[in-house]
Structure formats: structure tokens, C-alpha cells
């Protein structure tokens, strides 16, 4: 399980690095130091496609894979979930602190300045 997760990461990193759709063979070549079997790479790409994070298109006889979105946009999506801004504060995950208003932040900043004095 863990190893598969590792591979998925590595494959995504390759796809994100190159700015073009890649075939299974090309991905395998980019990861040659891992010495992966062709079918392994294919399985990993297939899993990623099922998760919806890579898109594939047929070109001639081979499939070409590219990331469905950039790494940054996935990070943003996660942060968006985390900060409870999807408009749907749900129990899916629990953020340490949710968004707060300007006034509140100001009140906290003042409290922080008071406590912080001995530290600095």
C-alpha cells in the first residue's frame, strides 16, 4: 500500500515536471532508476486515472497521460477544504481554527502582543 502510494507520487512528479502528455514507456524511462516493469507503471497510471488526477488521450496506438491539474491547484484545493471555505463546513475534516473576521483578528493580535512581551 505504502509502496504503491510512493510510486503514484513519483509518477505524478514526472508528469508535473514534463510539460507534455507522456506514454507509459516514457514515464517508465523517466523513473529508470527505480527499474519498474512496464505493467507496474501502467497499473499506477491506471489507478491515478481512476482517482481522476490524470487524464489520458489516445495517440496512435498508445495512451498519453497528463496531470488533470497542476500541483499548485491541488494544494489550493486541499487548503480550501481545510480552511472551511467551501461554504459547507462539514465534518469531513476538522480545522484547528476556522476563518475569522478582521475585528476578531485585531482583538487577538492585541492579546498576542500582551502575552508575547516576555518572549521577545
Amino acid at each position: 500500500m505504502n509502496r504503491l502510494g510512493d510510486l503514484e507520487r513519483a509518477v505524478m512528479d514526472v508528469l508535473w515536471q514534463r510539460n507534455e502528455p507522456l506514454t507509459v514507456r516514457e514515464v517508465g524511462r523517466a523513473l529508470h532508476e527505480r527499474d519498474l516493469a512496464h505493467t507496474t507503471v501502467m497499473t499506477v497510471l491506471d489507478r491515478l486515472a481512476k482517482k481522476g488526477v490524470v487524464a489520458r488521450a489516445r495517440e496512435g496506438r498508445a495512451w498519453r497521460y497528463r496531470p488533470a491539474a497542476s500541483r499548485e491547484s491541488y494544494v489550493s484545493e486541499l487548503m480550501f477544504d481545510a480552511l472551511g471555505q467551501t461554504g459547507d463546513r462539514d465534518a469531513a475534516l476538522a480545522a484547528f481554527v476556522r476563518s475569522m473576521s478582521g475585528n476578531e483578528a485585531e482583538a487577538l493580535r492585541r492579546a498576542l502582543a500582551e502575552i508575547d512581551e516576555p518572549r521577545t
Partner: protein, 313 residues
């Protein structure tokens, strides 16, 4: 009719009690007990409201709600869906309406719970998949994964086998070592005690009754109490001051712009302030007799409500 009247009284009583509980000052001193009180009130409200509707509708059978339901189905199947038991009474039509309302409310509540559950599972799976691809591990921060983003965030992703605590790079920047440990302890408390499951019924209630202000308010009240439970847990492992400092730092840094706008969501939200002041000026914990009194009332409430479902009057 008596049981219908009593169940209605309980349903109204639950709403009154919930309104008072929300304004009460003791929940802050015993968040765990308060969460149980909320659960009992919510459950009793649902059971008594549905019970009142059904008891009124099934009164002609004179067998209570459970017995009445059995009688109703026997009646319906024996007479080809024409209800002889109900057609003879003066309120026949109202009673059928009451039954339909009772069944509809039951369905709505269960539907809300199911949809919420599916939604949560789906969101978590997607979140978990993406975390696996973009979050990294850092030997300096054991027990958490790191997300490279400048905004400050710390959260946990609950799950049976693959729960995770996630800290953003922005959070690492504003927290010092001990504060970070306090935050991680807080998040692990959420995961260990499965706070997400406690919150789930309330979030599904919110889904079943969207845009109903009361439901929304109660949901946030319970959510805040749950945060306090985790705060208490973290305070036991680390120090209250470290945790309060972490909250303050998050709060003050968060006012900076966050990705993709939409910051102005929740304006009137003194939650963090309340948590911080609670940590910095600790109050006396709820005493044992007080806690026992609350728990006992919750138990009596549930037992009474359920036994009224059997009352054949």
C-alpha cells in the same frame, strides 16, 4: 392521545432546553458533558416529534406507537390499503396526515444522515488521495504531514485506518516548536476520540434542514464544544499557554489574504476568542455531582421519550 400530547410536550421542551443550553455558562466548564447533553436533546427531539405525530395518527388502534404501527400495517394489508381503524374516527383525515408527516420526517432525517455520510466519505477519500500526491513528510515534524502553502492551516483528516494530521508550511512558519506540538496534540485528540462521528449527526441535521438558523446555531455550538474537548486534551499533554499562543498566532496570521478569496464568510464568530480566554483564564471544572445531574437528566429524558412510544393511551 395522552402519549401524543406528552411527546409533543417533550419535543417543545427539548427546543426550550436547547435554547437554554446554548446560552448556559456551564458547558465551557465541562465540554464533554455538554456534548452528551446536546446529543440527548437532539435525539430526544427527533424521537419525540416523530413519536407525537405517529401517536396522534395511531391513537384509534389504542396500542401505543410500536403496537399501533404493527396494527396499521395489518389493517392496511388486510383491507387492501383502506384503513378501517382510522376511517371510523372523527379526525380520520388529520390522523392520516399526521402519520404521513411522521414518516416523512423519519425519512428526511435518515436521508440527511445517509447523504451526509456519503458526502463525508467522498470528500475524505478525495482529500486523502490528493494528500498522498502533494503532501510531504518531515522528520522534524513527526506525526503530521506537511502541505507547502503559505497560508496557515492545521487540521486532521479522520478515518478508520488512515487518519492524518496535516500542517501547512505557513503554519510551521508562525509556530514555534512547543506551540506546534500543542497543535498536533490537539489534532490527535480529535482523531483519537473520533470527534468527527460526534459531529456527524449534527451536520446531517444541518443538511436535512438547510438555511434553518436554529440548526446552524446548534451545530456551531456543538462544534465549538468539541474544539474545547480537544483543547482540554492537548492542555493535559502540553501546556495551556502554548496552545493559546498557537491559536492566537493562527488567528492573527489568518487575517492576511488567503488563496482564491472568499474570506469574508463567517463574520460574527467569537469562537477563537472564547477558546483562547478559556485557556488563559482556566475556570473551575464542572463538579462531579453537577456532571452526574446532567447525565442523569439526559438518561431520564431518553428513557421517558422511548417509554412513551409504548404507552397505549
Amino acid at each position: 392521545m395522552v402519549s401524543a400530547a406528552l411527546l409533543s410536550a417533550i419535543a417543545v421542551g427539548c427546543l426550550v432546553a436547547a435554547a437554554r443550553l446554548r446560552r448556559a455558562s456551564w458547558p465551557v466548564r465541562g465540554p464533554y458533558v455538554a456534548v452528551i447533553a446536546w446529543q440527548a436533546l437532539g435525539l430526544a427531539w427527533g424521537v419525540s416529534t416523530i413519536g407525537a405525530l405517529l401517536a396522534f395518527g395511531l391513537a384509534p388502534y389504542q396500542q401505543g406507537v410500536f403496537g399501533g404501527l404493527v396494527a396499521l400495517f395489518q389493517d392496511a394489508s388486510a383491507h387492501g390499503l383502506s384503513l378501517t381503524g382510522l376511517s371510523k374516527t372523527p379526525f380520520g383525515a388529520t390522523q392520516v396526515g399526521s402519520l404521513i408527516l411522521g414518516f416523512a420526517l423519519t425519512l428526511l432525517l435518515f436521508y440527511g444522515l445517509a447523504v451526509s455520510f456519503v458526502h463525508v466519505v467522498h470528500t475524505r477519500r478525495r482529500h486523502h488521495d490528493l494528500l498522498g500526491l502533494v503532501a510531504r513528510e518531515d522528520p522534524d515534524v513527526p506525526g503530521a504531514r506537511i502541505l507547502d502553502h503559505p497560508a496557515a492551516a492545521a487540521y486532521c483528516l479522520p478515518g478508520v485506518l488512515r487518519s492524518q494530521v496535516v500542517i501547512s508550511a505557513g503554519a510551521l512558519e508562525v509556530l514555534d516548536r512547543s506551540e506546534l506540538d500543542a497543535v498536533i496534540a490537539h489534532e490527535h485528540a480529535h482523531l483519537r476520540q473520533r470527534h468527527d462521528l460526534v459531529l456527524l449527526p449534527f451536520s446531517s441535521l444541518k443538511r436535512a434542514f438547510p438555511r434553518v438558523a436554529i440548526v446552524e446555531t446548534y451545530y456551531s455550538a456543538v462544534a465549538l464544544l468539541i474544539e474545547m474537548c480537544a483543547d482540554d486534551q492537548a492542555r493535559r499533554e502540553r501546556s495551556a499557554k502554548e496552545l493559546a499562543m498557537a491559536l492566537l498566532r493562527f488567528g492573527t496570521v489568518r487575517a492576511a489574504p488567503i488563496p482564491a478569496g472568499a474570506l469574508a464568510a463567517n463574520t460574527d464568530d467569537p469562537e477563537v476568542v472564547r477558546r483562547v480566554s478559556r485557556l488563559l483564564h482556566p475556570m473551575e471544572e464542572l463538579s462531579r455531582p453537577e456532571a452526574a445531574a446532567v447525565l442523569l437528566s439526559a438518561l431520564v429524558l431518553m428513557a421517558t421519550t422511548l417509554s412513551l412510544w409504548h404507552l397505549p393511551l
